[in-house]
């Protein structure tokens, strides 16, 4: 058994269980939360290193051979995603120390956070379709409670929409898994890949693929299934928004990419054209939604949707080209984009929390004067914001560049035009936040006018350190775009070359 594959599940589970046991001892919980997140990051980094050197890793839970038991698999894509979950987990755990109110902290926030991380890691690592469903449930329950924790009316209003729409997704997912099992008689992804591909009449599978598209599309907040996201992301404490923004939708994207590269490749001309169209609509509706907002977190929330479009753009392109090199480039673009996005988006939410702490609001109208008074924070905002808008030489530029190159290579000019224009509109949104919250003088009655609510020394570290480190990561990914893109390319190669995955799971037997 490859213990590295199990650690990303065991560490958060143990941390959560230990924190639950330490229910009344908040300092211990805090320590456990940060230590657990750090351990998760370390373990995930080790996993990535292992997969990088030794190729796709797979381990059979309970020792039952695949496809009969549950398999955990880590290819480079999975490993990268787990590392990102570790990064976000650690950043948010540290940030939470100073940003969360004590009532929430003492009502299970830290255990819930780690259960959420466990669910996310499980989803990235599982090689079994029903097990994926289970991790989705873990995530959904943990995220729902995190979302509603505190019981503010707004939170509950958002949470009820969140949970209802996500339960629809779960139900569809479950139904689809059931029918697929009826068709192919197996749940193991690698096994399914082989069996679905040997079908005489693949069109039934294509119809089924639509159910998966909708189920995962809801999770990923794809047009027109994204409503739960803008309805809820601005309601919980910032730390919760940040971890959601970083990870939740990306699990949906991960699942889409996984099943539409591994399982549903029978009728790519149809399915992937559909994905491409959805990606365009998602990009456009998301960015327009953001343009209509005047509140820091709402703007950011709509941009998540818009960028989900970019992520599945690569998936769509990969299916629509006959050239392996182009397909690899497109998927590498998706992987790169997800990597960049998770770091940047989490960071922007974290910054929004500091802006609120200093300016007293998330409303752009009520904010202002941060550039004059807080140049450091201004830079820390500008880095992820410009990266989000795809400004060179930050990470977002290379993410966009690779997708645009793939699009031009595949001759999909319309979607390239959409992607570029949406990039400009993203820049527009980011400058809106910049001009209103940072450049504009603080409104007369704002909190900045009175003696500024300065961050205490402890807050300064716990709030700004994660932000700073994530910003450094953003710059580094930009400046070291070569090596990072090589990683993304190798991950994409593994996605394109499905035999390697199947072989790693099933061994010689087919």
């Amino acid at each position: 058994m490859n213990v590295l594959l199990v650690l990303p599940l065991v560490i958060p589970l143990t941390t959560a269980a230990a924190s639950l046991l330490a229910w009344r001892r908040l300092p211990l919980q805090r320590f456990l939360a940060v230590a657990g997140a750090a351990a998760l990051l370390a373990a995930s980094a080790a996993l990535l290193a292992g997969v990088w050197t030794n190729g796709i890793a797979a381990t059979q839970m309970g020792g039952w051979p695949a496809p009969f038991g549950i398999t955990l698999v880590a290819d480079l894509f999975s490993a990268v995603m787990v590392v990102l979950a570790g990064v976000v987990g650690l950043a948010v755990a540290v940030y939470s120390l100073a940003s969360l109110d004590e009532p929430r902290e003492s009502f299970g926030y830290y255990p819930l956070l780690h259960v959420l991380l466990m669910g996310v890691c499980g989803a990235f690592l599982t090689g079994d379709l029903f097990n994926l469903y289970v991790w989705f449930e873990v995530m959904l329950m943990a995220s729902f409670v995190l979302l509603a924790l505190g019981g503010e009316p707004d939170q509950l209003r958002g949470a009820i929409k969140y949970v209802t729409l996500n339960l629809v997704a779960s139900a569809l997912f479950l139904a689809a898994v059931g029918i697929l099992y009826g068709l192919a008689g197996t749940l193991n992804l690698a096994d399914l890949a082989g069996k679905l591909n040997s079908l005489a009449e693949p069109s039934t599978v294509t119809a089924l693929a639509m159910l998966f598209l909708v189920a995962f599309g809801i999770k990923a907040a794809v047009f027109p299934l994204f409503f739960w996201l803008p309805a809820s992301y601005h309601t919980p404490p910032v730390a919760v928004s940040a971890v959601f923004a970083g990870l939740l939708t990306k699990v949906g994207v991960y699942a889409l990419i996984r099943v539409f590269t591994l399982l549903f490749v029978q009728d790519v001309g149809y399915t992937h054209t559909l994905i491409l169209v959805l990606s365009g609509l998602t990009m456009v509706t998301g960015v327009l939604g953001a343009a209509a907002q005047q509140e820091f977190r709402r703007i950011l929330s709509f941009h998540i949707i818009s960028q989900i479009g970019y992520m599945i753009l690569g998936l769509g392109l990969a299916g629509l080209t006959t050239s392996t090199a182009l397909a690899t480039l497109a998927l590498a673009g998706s992987v790169f984009y997800i990597t960049h996005h998770i770091i940047v988006k989490t960071n922007l939410f974290l910054v929004s929390g500091v802006a609120r702490r200093l300016g007293g609001s998330f409303e752009l109208k009520a904010l202002g004067g941060l550039y004059r008074g807080r140049p450091g924070l201004a830079i820390l905002f500008l880095i992820p914001a410009l990266s989000l808008a795809g400004m060179p030489p930050l990470s977002g530029f290379f993410a966009k560049l690779s997708l645009v190159q793939a699009g031009l290579g595949a001759g999909q000019y319309a979607i390239v035009a959409v992607a570029l224009v949406v990039g400009l509109l993203t820049l527009f949104s980011m400058t809106k936040i910049w001009a209103e919250a940072f450049w504009k003088p603080a409104p007369a009655d704002s909190a900045l006018d009175s003696p500024p609510p300065d961050l205490g020394p402890r807050e300064r570290y716990t709030l700004l350190l994660p932000i700073g480190l994530l910003a450094v990561l953003t710059v580094t990914i930009g400046l070291a775009a070569g090596p990072v893109f090589t990683l993304a390319t190798r991950a994409a190669e593994q996605l394109v070359n499905r035999d390697a995955y199947v072989h790693a799971v099933l061994g010689g037997q087919r």
Partner: protein, 815 residues
């Protein structure tokens, strides 16, 4: 490479340095560009001898992005302008904004810009060029918005960013297409290879995209409106970015790509046409203004148009003219901007109508202004005189269009004379006027730049050989593509160019004398030439906002029921369409295996479902649902899965009890939906139900592979030591699933506890955001079902139960 990087590094430390050195910081920082100018200067000989200096660093080779640089004649000319003027600007900014609390940031942005601009003109890799291109747009944004507490400055910064940024994206697409067509993103490779991009099927889109990038950056009509807006920046910034260097990036790009894309009919028509239109529009608009900086801005637009026009013509004479003109323009226009800044700084106004007779109090500035103005007007013996003659000559000789372009150029030249009079002469001569502040001479830092710049214009005019062989010739060579030896001379003999030059001078002087009348007369052009294009920007922006709000209100309505509806329609639509496309919904089902009990149960389920839907009272509906659940459990019994059936019985019982308990406390609700809405919902529900049924039938219909459950039956007792297959699956074969589900239950427990116990008081920050759409529909909230803790609590265990019950049903119930 180091040359470019050093600027970025210095930008990082500039604010810190400023905090230490204060007043001296500008002088200190200017040492870097000065040093760089010397460094580039040292390559003059080599470049003039035909060498190109190269350096290359790998960045993201898989994406075609590499930091490869190449110093040839064209790059060298620009690099010297950038660093030379940059040094003067840094010194000037220190004096102009002395004591400003954010001067340190200004230095940082200036250096950031300088480094980016250097990168732009030195880059050999097209994508590296683009990276620097965007960085100049960005630093321009930050610099235009320097006075960030003024709303106009913020708006102008945004406008400049969006216009140039939009062009930038077009440029990116164009460059990538170019790279794809040419097989490389390295300029040197593209220029060196034989096959011709001009015949490529994508040539026209490529050209249009690149031109869009160049035209927006270089403020060509109809995108020119952002440039006067950019005058919101402090004057040294306007002088540097928005006159001498950044706005010439588009011109640089056209010159750079001329050997690759130039020379076609499309190139001639587009580049020449837009250039000519810009030249005239800028010139005409310049004379309608009264603000010194805006006059200069429009005159810069005109000059940029002239440069583009010349590159459109593309003959070696035109290219030579363009480069000489470019050099001359950078010198005198920079000087005049700095003079305008000094005037503003010392008198408190930039309105030409309020300025006069200042030569007495500001003699040095006046002298510099005079020199620069004579240069702008194109008098001998300035470099610009030579440039002007070359322009007339090239324009006249333009194939096919000389007779239209030449008069246009003469008119533009005349308008230049007016501009020169307004900005360089009028404020200093005539009767002194009262100014907001009593005028006095500017300090050294403020007059050094103008004097040096204007002086060089004179120097190069008197000794054109200083620049001809070493600077201009290699640059022309780089653009034209084959070696050129340019000879510059003040005296060309009596020829047509001289005559045209004379005509334009005389006409210009006449226009200047009648300026007031002309200003009033040409004011009618303003709406057409300026407000028209600017209006498009505003209309587009407003349209975008309106579209965004309309769309968001439509989609993100705030009503959960609409969300659900759209999601279900999408599900039914996508799946249904795919099934229809498949041509055959489901093959006829084989009913022969159906027993009496099966059929009876199915009927019971259907009847109970109908009853649940039609029931008037809540309790009846719940009871009916309970019947459905129990019948499903009986199905499990029929198929030999008593464990699953037991679970289902328990879950159903609990659900019904919980529902009854909850609903007992709720008031009887009136019918909320009207008939039409009910019909719609019924249709949707039926569609989804039919689709799911169809899919299930399909799965049963075509079972392609035997299920893996045989393995479980075989190994359950032998290896897992359990007689109950379902149990073994739950705790052993698929134990990880069960671990996950237990976690779900635990979390649900925590959730229920926390939701019941914890109420964080409304903390104010969310008070404004009760609905999801920003223009808040106040009526949306009350219509929403109030999500109290009840449904939330209820949802939790129910979901856990559902998840727990189903895997067993899925896997244990193998046939």
């Amino acid at each position: 490479m180091t040359a470019v990087l050093s600027g970025f590094v210095l930008a990082l430390v500039a604010p810190g340095l400023y905090r230490r050195a204060r007043a001296g910081a500008g002088w200190l920082l200017a040492l870097l560009p000065l040093g760089l100018a010397g460094y580039f200067g040292s390559y003059t000989e080599a470049v003039a001898a035909g060498e190109t200096v190269r350096a290359s660093y790998s960045w993201a080779p898989a994406l075609g992005v590499d930091l490869s640089f190449c110093l040839d004649g064209l790059s060298l000319l620009f690099a010297l302008l950038i660093t030379g003027i940059g040094a003067l600007i840094l010194i000037y900014a220190g004096g102009y904004l002395s004591g400003h609390p954010q001067l340190g940031r200004l230095y940082a942005f200036l250096l950031l810009f300088m480094a980016s601009m250097l990168g732009l003109v030195l880059a050999d890799n097209l994508l590296a060029l683009f990276v620097f291109w965007e960085l100049t747009s960005l630093s321009s944004y930050l610099l235009i918005g320097f006075d960030h507490e003024r709303a106009e400055a913020r708006a102008a910064a945004l406008q400049a960013l969006l216009v140039t940024g939009g062009g930038g994206l077009a440029l990116l697409a164009g460059l990538l297409l170019l790279g794809q067509a040419g097989g490389s993103l390295e300029l040197s490779v593209l220029l060196g290879q034989p096959h011709d991009l001009r015949g490529h099927p994508l040539y026209l889109p490529m050209l249009l995209l690149v031109l869009l990038g160049a035209f927006t950056k270089s403020a060509q009509f109809p995108f020119h409106f952002w440039l006067p807006g950019a005058m919101a920046a402090p004057t040294p910034i306007s002088a540097y970015l928005h006159s001498a260097t950044m706005v010439k990036a588009g011109v640089y790009l056209l010159a750079r790509l001329h050997p690759l894309l130039g020379g076609t009919d499309a190139w001639h028509a587009l580049v020449t046409g837009f250039g000519a239109a810009t030249m005239l529009a800028g010139g005409l608009l310049a004379v309608t203004q009264t603000d010194l900086k805006r006059i200069l801005a429009y005159s810069t637009v005109s000059a940029l148009g002239t440069l583009v026009l010349l590159l459109g013509i593309g003959t070696s004479a035109a290219v030579t003219a363009a480069l000489v003109f470019l050099l001359a323009h950078a010198l005198y226009k920079g000087a005049l901007f700095l003079v305008a800044g000094a005037l503003d700084h010392e008198t408190g106004t930039r309105d030409v109508r309020q300025l006069g007779g200042l030569w007495r109090t500001m003699p040095v500035t006046a002298a510099a202004a005079g020199l620069a103005a004579l240069s702008l007007a194109g008098f001998a013996p300035f470099l610009s005189f030579i440039g002007k003659e070359l322009v007339f000559e090239a324009v006249w000789a333009a194939p096919g269009a000389g007779f239209i372009l030449a008069p246009a150029a003469v008119l533009a030249g005349a308008l230049f004379v007016v501009t020169a009079g307004l900005t360089g002469v009028r404020p200093f001569w005539g009767a002194p006027r009262a100014t907001p502040r009593p005028p006095h001479e500017a300090p050294l830092s403020l007059w050094l730049g103008p004097v040096l710049l204007a002086g060089s214009g004179l120097l190069f005019g008197l000794w054109p050989a200083l620049v001809a062989a070493q600077l201009v010739s290699p640059a022309v060579t780089a653009v034209v593509g084959h070696p050129q030896h340019v000879l510059l001379a003040l005296w060309h003999g009596f020829n047509l160019a001289l005559a045209l030059s004379g005509v334009s001078l005389v006409l210009g002087l006449a226009l200047y004398l009648g300026w007031n009348a002309i200003r009033r007369a040409s004011a009618c052009l303003e709406p057409l030439l300026n407000r028209g294009p600017a209006m498009w920007y505003e209309v587009a922006l407003r349209g975008l906002n309106r579209l965004a709000q309309g769309q968001t209100r439509l989609l993100q309505s705030g009503y959960l029921r609409y969300y659900l509806m759209i999601v279900l329609v999408a599900t039914a639509g996508l799946t249904g369409a795919t099934l229809v496309r498949r041509g055959r919904l489901a093959s006829p089902v084989d009913w022969s295996g159906l027993s009496f009990y099966d059929a009876g149960l199915a009927l019971l389920i259907l009847l109970a479902t109908a009853a649940a839907v039609l029931a008037r009272s809540r309790l009846a509906a719940i009871a009916a649902l309970g019947v459905v659940g129990y019948s499903v459990a009986l199905v499990f019994v029929l198929f030999g899965a008593p464990d699953v059936a037991m679970t289902q019985f328990l879950v159903e019982t609990l659900t019904v009890i919980l529902f009854v308990l909850v609903f007992y406390h709720l008031p009887e609700s009136p019918a909320v939906s009207h008939t039409l809405a009910r019909l719609r919902d019924a249709l949707l529900a039926a569609a989804v139900g039919v689709l799911m049924t169809g899919l299930v039938l399909l799965a049963g219909d075509v079972q392609y592979h035997p299920p893996i459950s045989a393995y479980f039956a075989e190994h359950s007792l032998a290896d897992a030591h359990g007689r109950n297959l379902v149990n073994v699956i739950l705790v052993d074969f698929r134990g990880l699933d069960t671990l996950g589900e237990i976690t779900v239950l635990a979390v649900a427990g925590v959730g229920v506890y926390a939701l019941l116990k914890l109420r964080v008081g409304a903390q104010g920050h969310s008070a404004a955001g009760s609905t999801e759409v920003q223009p808040a529909r106040t009526d949306a909230a009350p219509l929403e079902p109030e999500p109290g803790p009840v449904p939330a609590v209820n949802g939790a265990p129910q979901d856990g139960g559902l998840a727990l019950a189903n895997p067993a049903a899925e896997e244990g119930g193998g046939r």
